[in-house]
Point group: D2
Chain length 306, copies 4
C-alpha cells in the first residue's frame, strides 16, 4: 500500500473539516495554537515512516500521556494495579465525580482523569519524589521516541492554577485512601506529564511498542510484556476517547487515545502506529479533524481491527 499517497488524499479531503470544532480554552495557554493546523504521521514496524502537514510542530500531549504512565505502572505493579484503578468504560459524559463517589474512590479506568491521577500516584510511590517520578516518565517517553522532550512551563502553571476539578477528584480519592502521596505532589507530576510537548512524528514513533507486543521494533528493548501491551490496546479501544470511545471504535476501529491538545494516537496491532494532530475539538473533547482523518484512513486501508 502506498501510505504517502493515502496521507496526501486524506490531507486534501480533510481541508473542509479544519475549521470545524473549537480549540480547548479551559486554560489560556492552550489557546495559543494555529487553530486550523493539521498533521499526520505513520510509523511501520519495519522502520519506515510517512508524514504530512505540520508534523514537526510540537503541541501539548495532554491525556495521551496517560498511555505512557499506565504502561509504566502496569509493568511495575502488574495486576495489583487493578485494585486502585479498574479497566471498564465509565459511560459518563465528562470527567465526573459521580461514579467515583458511588464506587468509593476507585476510578473506572486509567484514561479518565481520576484514573490517570491514581496511576501517576503509583509512580510517585515507586520513585519516591515528584522530581524523580516525573524524570522517570520523561525518560520513558524519550526512549520511546528517541528524542529529548520537555514540558511547557506556561501550560503547566496554567493547569496548576485552574486545576480545581482535578483537585476535587484527587481530594475525593484521598478521602477514600486511594491517593497515597500528598495531593499537591501527585497533581504536580500529573500536570507536568500533561504539559509535555511533542510533535506528530515523535508521538507516532513513541507508540510503536504497542503495535509490536510491547517491544521496541528497532532496539528490541521490551518496555512491557506482550500480554500487557494487548491490555493497553484494549483499554485504548474501550476507554480511549471518554464517552465517545464507542463512537471511535464504531467509526475508526482502532485502539486510540486522544488529548485535548488536539492529538490522537492510534495503533494497528502488528503493523504500525499513527498520530494525527488538529487542535479544534468536537463536543466530546476529541480532535474533530483528527477523528475524521483516522476514519478516512481505516476506510481507505481496510486496517480496522474489526
Amino acid at each position: 500500500m502506498n501510505y504517502q499517497t493515502i496521507l496526501e488524499e486524506i490531507y486534501e479531503q480533510i481541508q473542509p473539516e479544519l475549521t470545524k470544532g473549537k480549540v480547548a480554552s479551559y486554560i489560556p495557554a492552550l489557546k495559543q495554537v494555529d487553530s486550523d493546523d493539521f498533521a499526520m504521521s505513520i510509523h511501520l514496524l519495519d522502520g519506515t515512516s510517512y508524514n504530512i502537514g505540520s508534523y514537526n510542530k510540537k503541541f501539548s500531549i495532554q491525556s495521551i500521556s496517560k498511555v505512557f504512565t499506565f504502561s509504566m505502572a502496569l509493568e511495575l505493579y502488574s495486576t495489583k494495579l487493578y485494585k486502585r484503578v479498574w479497566h471498564e468504560p465509565s459511560g459518563n459524559p465528562f470527567n465526573s465525580l459521580i461514579q467515583l463517589e458511588y464506587e468509593k474512590g476507585i476510578p473506572r479506568n486509567p484514561f479518565i482523569n481520576a484514573g490517570a491521577i491514581v496511576t501517576t500516584d503509583t509512580l510517585l510511590s515507586y520513585y519516591k519524589t515528584k522530581e524523580k517520578a516525573f524524570e522517570a516518565i520523561n525518560n520513558f517517553i524519550n526512549k520511546l521516541c528517541k528524542e529529548d522532550i520537555t514540558y511547557n512551563k506556561e501550560i503547566f502553571d496554567s493547569e496548576l492554577k485552574h486545576g480545581f476539578r482535578n483537585q476535587a477528584l484527587a481530594s475525593l480519592m484521598k478521602s477514600f485512601n486511594n491517593i497515597k502521596n500528598p495531593i499537591e505532589n501527585t497533581l504536580d507530576t500529573y500536570f507536568k506529564q500533561c504539559s509535555l510537548m511533542m510533535n506528530c512524528e515523535q508521538l507516532a514513533k513513541s507508540m510503536l511498542y504497542l503495535a509490536n507486543h510491547g517491544e521496541d521494533p528497532d532496539t528490541k528493548e521490551i518496555y512491557i510484556n506482550s500480554s500487557r501491551a494487548k491490555r493497553v490496546n484494549s483499554l485504548m479501544l474501550t476507554c480511549g476517547h471518554y464517552d465517545a470511545s464507542g463512537d471511535f471504535a464504531f467509526h475508526v476501529g482502532l485502539p486510540g487515545k486522544s488529548g485535548v491538545g488536539g492529538g490522537i494516537v492510534a495503533v494497528v496491532p502488528k503493523k504500525m502506529s499513527i498520530c494525527v494532530y488538529s487542535p479544534r475539538l468536537n463536543a466530546k473533547g476529541n480532535s474533530h479533524a483528527g477523528t475524521k482523518a483516522l476514519e478516512l484512513f481505516t476506510s481507505k486501508t481496510k486496517l480496522s481491527i474489526f
Copy 2:
C-alpha cells in the same frame, strides 16, 4: 406545664437508649467523649430555663454552627445569598458530590457541608481575613449565649488533617466559581466554627432568637429580621438532619439542627429553644438518644408545630 418534671421523665425513659448507636469516629479527637452521656436544656422566652443531665459539659457543636453562620450571611446578603446556596432538601444519603456536580456547584441548602462551606466563604469575603471572619462568628455566638466560647484546637487540627471530603467539595465548587476565597482560608474558618465547644445550656440559650422572630428576648437586640428568622426555622425543619430531615419532622415536629458531636438544637416558635446532647449517633449521623428525647418531649408537651 412543669418542664422540669417532663425533663426528669425523659431522663428516666431515655436511659435504655443511651447505649445504642455509635460515637462519631471519622476524626480521633471526636471519640474522646463519655459515650453514654446525656443532657437536655430548655430556655423559654420569659427567661426561665430547665436542665437535666450533664448540661454543663462542653462538646463540639459541629454542624449546629451552620445555623449561626447562615443567620449571619442571610442578614448580610439577604436574597442575594440564594444565588450561591439554595434552600431545598438534598434528598441525598450523605454529604454528596453528586448533586453538586449536576447542579453546577450550587449546593442545595446551607445545612449540608457544601452549603455551609459556601456560607462561610461569603462571611470570609465580607470580613476580609480568615481571622476576622472567625472572630465575627465567635462573637456572634458569644452574644447569643452571653458567654465566651472557644474552639478546640485538637479537634480543629484533626478536621484539617482528615478533611479530604470537604476539600473535594470546596475544590469542586471552586471549579464552578462558587468559592471566592482561597480554599484553605475558607476551610480553615469552616473547620474552626465546627470545632467550637459549647454545653447544652449555652446552645439552648443561643437559639432563643429563632424562637423569638430574630430578637433577643432579653436584650431586645435584633439579630436577624423576623421574616429571615422564619426562613432559618423552615430550613431547619426541611433540611436540618440531612436525609433524615423528613423523619425528624415526622416524629419530632420541630425545626432542629443536629451535629455529629452529638448535639441537637430545636426551636418551638414563639415559645422556647431546646438543646439535647448524647454522643452516640444513629445510622444517619444524628444523635440517637437526642432524637428520641425530642420525640418524647413533643409527645408529652404537644408542642409539635403540626
Copy 3:
C-alpha cells in the same frame, strides 16, 4: 382578623400574576380551563368560611388526592405502611425513576407519583377490587367535604392513554415486588383519584380534619388519630411540592399540597384550612399565582408555623 378583607386584598394584588406560568398540557383534557382563573377559600375550625374568585368552579384535584389516600392508608396500616413508602423528601427535579431504582422500589414519600401509586395499591389490597377501592376513596372525600364529588371521565381516559411514565414507575416497583395488585388495576384507581373534580370551597373544607388533629370539627368524627394527622402535616411541609417543597416552606411556611390541575391546599394547624386555585403552573409544576397568594396570606396574617 378580618379574613374576607385579607382575601380581597390578595385578590387585588394577585391580578398581575395571573398571566404568568403555563397550564399543564401533558394531557389534552387538562388544557381546557380558563387559564387566568383564580379562587381562594378559607375554612376555620369554628365553621366560618371565606371565599373569593371562582371558588365554585370545579377543577381536577390531581396530586391533592394523595393527601386523602395517604391519610386512609396510614389509618389502615399504621407504621407498617413505612415498609413500602418512606417519608423523606426526594430532592429530585421530577417524578424520577432514578432514586426508585437505587432504593430498590421503595418510594421516598407518598406525595411523589411512585409513592402515591404504592399508597393506592395498599388501598386496593384492602378493598379487594378497583371498584371498591375507588368507591372508598370517593366516599372518604365526600364525607370530608359533605358533598358528592365525581371524577372526570375525559381526564381519566386521557391519563390512562398518556400515562407511560406512571406505568414505568409501577412496573419498576412491581419488579421489586412493591406493587401487589395487577399494575392496570392500581393505575386505574390512581388515575381515577387524580381525575376527581372539586372546587376551592370543597377542597378547603375537606382539609379541615388536618387542622384539627384528625377530627371533623363539625361531626366530631375521627378520620385519623391525632399523631397521624401531625405526620400528614409534616409530610406536606417537607414533601408537598416535589422539589420546590423547601422553597414553599421557606416562603409560605405552612404544610401544603399542590396538584398540576392548579390547586393548592394548605393547613394552619389548630386554626384553619385553605385552598387556592389558579391553573398556570411555575417551572416546578405548582400553581404560580396560588403559591404567591399563600405567601401573601402568611405575610399578612403572620400565620406561618415558623
Copy 4:
C-alpha cells in the same frame, strides 16, 4: 494450528471452573439446566469446524439474539437507527433506567435491554405485525445457521410473566416516544427472540458472517454490508458484556456477546466464529467458565485482535 487439540486442552483446564458461579434464576424456566455443563464450538471461514463437550445441547440464547436483531435493523435503517439507539458503552452495573431517564429515552447501545427493545421495535414497525416480525427474526437466524430453530414456550411465558423490569424500560421509552408500537407487541417479540433455543454449534455457525465482513462464506449471500459488519463487531467489543465489557476486551480481546442462558459468541475477524456454553454466571451475569475458556483460547492461539 490444531484447533481440536486446543479445544481438548481447554476442556481439561476448564473443569475446576465448572462449579463456580450461579445459574440464572430470575425466571424459573431458566434454572432447569445441567448447571455444570460445558461446550465449545469453532467455525472457520473455510467451512471446517471443531467442537467439544455438549455442543449439541440447546439452550436459551437470550441476549445473543440482540446481535441478530441489531444486524437486521442496521441493514434496514442504516444510520437512521442511531437516532433511536446509540453505540456507546453504558458504564452501568445493570440494565438500568437511570441513564435512560437522563438521556431522554435514547438507550446507550443495542446490547443493553433498553436498546434491544428499541431495536426490536424498529423491526416491528418494518414487518407490521408481531407475528411477521418474529418470523423474520427466526428466518434470519435459520438462514445463518442452516437449520430450523424454535423458541421455548415455557421460557417465553416465564419472561412475559416476570418481565416487569423490561416493561418499565419500555414504558419509560414510550413516554419519550422512542417506542412506536404498543408496548405489549414489542415485548412479545423481544421475549420470543430471547427464548430461541440453539446449540453451541449452531450459534458458532450463525456468527460466521460477522467474521467475514457480512457475507456468508458458504453461500456468498451478503447479510449486511462490510462496513456494518465492522460496526457490529466493534459494538460487541465495547458493549457486548454489559459493564464487564472492558474486562472481557482486556482479558479475551475479541468481539463477543453473552446471554444469561450461559452462551457467549465471539468473532475473530477474517478468521472464525466461536461459541462457548456453560450456564453458571459470574457476578456480572456472564458465563463464568465461558469467559475463562475464551481467555484460554486467545492465550493459546494468540488470536486476540490487540
